[in-house]
C-alpha cells in the first residue's frame, strides 16, 4: 500500500460523504433551490465514484450532463413555476412520516443485508478494456441501434417539450 492508495481511499470516502450529505439536503430542505443544490452535490459525488470505477469518461459525462444540464434545467423550472424562495411545505401528520420513513429504512436494511450476503462471481475472462476506443467501437457496432434510438428519443422529447410548454395559440381548437 502506497501513500497514493490511502489518498485515493480518502477521496472515495469523501465522495461517499458528498453523496450522503447531498441526499439529506435534497430530502430535508424546505427550499426547492436547496434541494437542487443537494442534487448537484450528489451528482458530483457519483462522478467521483465513476473515477474509482475506472471510467473517467463517464465521470466527465456525469458532471457535464447531470450537473451541467439537468440541474440547470431544474433551476429554470423552479424559477418559472415558483418564486425561488417558496418553501415546499410539509403537510403530513406524524403518522404518515413514521410510515414513510419506516418503509424506506426497512427497505434499505433489507436490500443491504441481501447485498452483503450475496456472493458475486466475476466473469471468467474479460474482453476489451476501459478505453474510450473500445467504448466507441461498442457504440458503433454492438449498440448502434440503441444509440440511434436514444438520439431519436431525445429529439422527440425536446420537440414534445416545446409543444407542451408553448402558450396556446389563437387558432388552436382548445
Amino acid at each position: 500500500m502506497t501513500l497514493y492508495h490511502y489518498l485515493a481511499e480518502g477521496m472515495f470516502f469523501g465522495f461517499i460523504v458528498l453523496i450522503v450529505f447531498g441526499g439529506m439536503l435534497t430530502v430535508w430542505s424546505r427550499l426547492l433551490m436547496h434541494a437542487v443544490l443537494g442534487l448537484a452535490v450528489v451528482f458530483i459525488g457519483v462522478a467521483g465514484l465513476f473515477f474509482h470505477l475506472g471510467s473517467p469518461f463517464m465521470a466527465m459525462m456525469q458532471v457535464l450532463i447531470y450537473v451541467g444540464a439537468v440541474c440547470v434545467m431544474l433551476v429554470f423550472g423552479i424559477m418559472v413555476g415558483h418564486s425561488p424562495t417558496q418553501t415546499d411545505r410539509l403537510r403530513w401528520s406524524g403518522n404518515n412520516f413514521l410510515l414513510a420513513s419506516g418503509t424506506c429504512i426497512s427497505g434499505f436494511v433489507l436490500l443491504t443485508t441481501t447485498l452483503v450476503r450475496t456472493q458475486w462471481t466475476a466473469a471468467a475472462q474479460r474482453v476489451g478494456d476501459f478505453s474510450m476506443q473500445h467504448l466507441g467501437e461498442a457504440f458503433l457496432h454492438q449498440f448502434v441501434l440503441a444509440f440511434e434510438l436514444i438520439s431519436v428519443v431525445l429529439l422527440i422529447a425536446i420537440l414534445g417539450a416545446i409543444i407542451i410548454a408553448r402558450p396556446p395559440q389563437e387558432s388552436d381548437p382548445s
Binding site: L32, A35, V70, Q142, A146, I164
Partner: protein
C-alpha cells in the same frame, strides 16, 4: 482489501440513493421536488450499472453504454416534466400535485 475494491460498497450506495429518492418523492409536495428525487433514483441506477460493469461484467463497454443511455433518458425525462410543469402552472396557477385533480371524477 480497501472498501473501494468491493462491489458491495457501491451497491449499498446505489441502494441508499434509491431509498433516499423514494423518501424524498413522498416528502416533497411539489412536482419539481418529486422530479429532483426521480433524478436521484436514476443516478443510483447508474452507480449500480457502473459497479457491476467494473467488477463482474465480461465486457467493460456494456455497463458504460447502459449508463450513458440512462443519462440520455434522464435528460429527456427532465425536459418533458419541466415543460409539463410549465403547462400545468399556466393552466392551474399552482404546481401542487394535490390541487391538480381534474380527472378525479
Amino acid at each position: 482489501m480497501m472498501p473501494s475494491d468491493h462491489l458491495t460498497t457501491y451497491l449499498i450506495i446505489g441502494a441508499f440513493m434509491l431509498f433516499v429518492g423514494l423518501f424524498g418523492m413522498i416528502r416533497h409536495r411539489t412536482l419539481i421536488g418529486m422530479l429532483i428525487c426521480v433524478e436521484m433514483i436514476l443516478a443510483g441506477a447508474g452507480v449500480n450499472f457502473m459497479a457491476f460493469n467494473y467488477f463482474v461484467a465480461p465486457d467493460p463497454a456494456v455497463g458504460q453504454a447502459f449508463t450513458l443511455f440512462i443519462l440520455g433518458i434522464a435528460a429527456a425525462e427532465a425536459a418533458i416534466v419541466i415543460s409539463l410543469v410549465i403547462a400545468i402552472h399556466r393552466r392551474f396557477h399552482t404546481v401542487d400535485p394535490q390541487a391538480i385533480n381534474e380527472l378525479r371524477g
